[in-house]
Symmetry: C2
Subunit: 433 residues, 2 copies
């Protein structure tokens, strides 16, 4: 028995990836008439929209990650295995992992997306990114170590460099991270670092376009910029990061910004899986799927969430890589598989656009709702809080998350400011020895 | 200004290490007439007696670690720097760090202890240890990954190896860890791993002596053994671990135990600091101090806690390396320095032995109190709980720790079962490919 999965008279559904899409497929197939096998290289689901809170010491990792075994517990037809899938072999209806091959009757590819460094090796090596819990903890360590290092030098040029925080990418992750960093600067650091002149700390957000939150409305962009400016964040439009050696960022304009903390939030690409023919990949490596989320030309292979590229008349580039799309597609594909098992015809997927929200620091957010409704300020922030808390509570971390969150928001008590391992860069720290 | 510490008209007390000893020196010197500089390579104090709880997913790291900046906050005379001290130069009254030299008027060495592998490189490289938060998180990852790997193979010999957990050392860390692991086996794993036959999981505790908890009473040893046996833990006396290659432990008896999880809890040695003459070091690298905790022959250098070796008529090998000794010595040295600053004569240190407690699983413990009083069972466990909670609450994590702890104890809800980075060993995992 490869991967020690028992044989079953029921058809086997193998789901690769436990993100929003994959977990929703799995949840919807619990205790149904299929054998359900969920595979992920991590043992937890990650609530990605709040990774920036972990990176800025606002929430514990445990508050935004949820063990996949626990998500499946009680479902007798479910099997979780922590393993990376190396390749799909659709002609043989099986997948290849480091621990052997596994046959499937239905395969759901839900491998999500990863940071796109656009082949800039120096940036990949030296910049921080924010796609996993591990990334978020690394980034937290980078920030905390940078603050500590500010107090270890009296070299003004070193200090200037340490005081600069550069974020590349004005999408939701960049904007939310900039807001949270400025909150840290204003509310948390003065208590921990009374010796530092935090007025010198610069947060610089860089975007090659002309507005923030490019996928949202002009209204959202305008208000997001206003809020960021109020928080003292410098926004540079029309330039991009060209190089970063761990000490100096060089922009396309030629400008150089010394910094030890550069965050790359300027793009993602699908984490497509080996064995899917290149002809089936669209822009950003996404796997082209039909209206029923089937990989084009394949009967038993589905792709859902960020890794899938599904055409939709409302979206010229296909459905966006957002959590609500992944959740809806996941639930849809589970239903579709159950229909196919019963020899019923599948019904095409229909995306219900519920809008988008982005938060900027505490108590401020922007939002686009359906029917051209727009929110901003406190009301948008309350909507954001409600949506996120609701989701997190929904997946079971109920009491602790709620407590953790409320506690942190009320007290700014960042007990999570622990450096438990060094953030490694490819150069040695310099001293004033 | 090296390390950016401002000049001060007050005498400068430099404390190296923020463990029980160093933190208590610092706490007692807050807002006194000295300049206080606390240095530690970590940014947090670690409540070491509960590291095994973090390793077994019982508590979050944040519940047993406390940011040193927060500990010092509000004290205008205090400066914390996160840095490792490389050398002491007593003749020049200064220390050397990676970021430069720092002068002191009084120096307190509180560098604690570290795991003693007795020069067995293979064990150092392949075994897990438990002296820091980072170690505890690593060990947690090792355990969780081992459970996950059990389900990735159908090779019975690999599975047997994965089911074996070997702990070397029958002192309090080994005994407490064994108890917590058996609790995990009994209460947590059956829910998460219904597919595993956990009866096959062996927890083997190895000690070269003839009884557990060698530093405690015969009463404590006997009851600890009884409790461990009840929990199904195998205890092997009179043998020691000779080699471990990451797959097989070889004992001094020649017996071989296949295991991927070997925990080395069989010894510590003082983390003595360069610059202290070898003639001043006692057994286990401890720095010999006089009755006033001054390093022998030095007027302005103190050593406290695990790193210090202080003679006491009650203890043939000097005062033991226990938290209460470190705490009392720390408070004492702070007072002594304040006396010296005022040109008063120091009074010798007197250790107040409050006894010792060790817990074995949930609801069971053993304890030795002064005047030959002994505790066991539930009453000892309640004493243990009270002492530990009292201390943790004392250092400020109040509400969250209490909540975290009670929550975990009531519900066994181990939301901290996250694997956020791989535990690295020096070999590649094998597959059944």
């Amino acid at each position: 028995m490869p991967l020690d999965i028992p044989d079953s008279p029921m058809p086997r559904v193998v789901i690769v990836g436990g993100g929003f899409a994959g977990l929703n497929v799995a949840n919807s197939l619990k205790n149904k008439n299929v054998q359900l096998v969920l595979l992920d290289k991590n043992n937890h689901h990650t609530f990605q929209p709040l990774l920036y809170q972990v990176a800025t010491s606002g929430l514990e990792a445990g508050s935004i990650a949820y063990p996949l075994r626990k998500a499946l517990s009680g479902a007798k037809n479910a099997h979780f295995r922590m393993i990376e899938v190396e390749e799909v072999l659709p002609s043989e209806k099986k997948i290849k992992t480091i621990a052997g091959y596994l046959k499937y009757d239905y395969l759901v590819i839900a491998t999500g997306s990863k940071t796109n460094f656009f082949n800039m090796k120096d940036i990949e090596q030296n910049a921080a990114q924010l796609k996993s819990v591990s990334n978020a903890i690394d980034m937290r360590h980078l920030f905390l170590q940078t603050f500590e290092k500010m107090l270890l030098t009296d070299d003004e040029s070193v200090r200037t460099r340490l005081f600069n925080f550069v974020i590349a990418g004005g999408g939701p992750p960049g904007v939310e991270l900039a807001g949270a960093l400025s909150e840290l600067r204003k509310m948390v650091l003065p208590k921990d670092y009374p010796e530092l002149n935090l007025d010198r700390m610069r947060i610089i957000l860089i975007d090659p376009g002309t507005r923030l939150l490019g996928a949202m409305s002009e209204f959202a962009s305008k208000n997001a910029l206003k809020y960021l400016n109020r928080l003292g964040i410098e926004v540079k439009f029309g330039v991009s990061v060209k190089t970063y050696d761990g000490r100096v960022v060089t922009l396309s304009s030629g400008e150089e910004i010394p910094t030890e903390a550069m965050i790359w939030a300027a793009g993602v690409k699908a984490a497509a899986i080996a064995g899917i023919d290149a002809s089936l990949l669209a822009r950003g490596n996404r796997i082209m799927v039909d209206a029923c989320n089937r990989v084009k030309g394949m009967e038993h292979v589905f792709a859902v969430g960020d890794v899938a590229m599904q055409e939709d008349s409302r979206y010229p580039n296909g459905l966006p890589g957002l959590a609500p799309v992944a959740i809806q597609q996941g639930q849809y594909v589970a239903k579709t598989i159950l229909r196919l098992v019963k020899n019923q015809k599948p019904v095409p997927f229909k995306y219900w656009d519920k809008g988008a929200l982005a938060t900027i620091g505490r108590l401020k957010a922007v939002g686009d709702l359906p029917k051209n409704l727009h929110l901003r300020g406190m009301i948008a922030w309350l909507a954001w809080l409600f949506v996120h808390l609701f989701y997190l509570i929904g997946f079971g971390n109920k009491v602790m998350v709620f407590f953790d969150w409320v506690w942190n928001y009320i007290t700014y008590d960042r007990r999570v400011r622990l450096i438990v391992r060094p953030y490694k860069k490819n150069y040695e720290p310099e001293g004033s020895r």
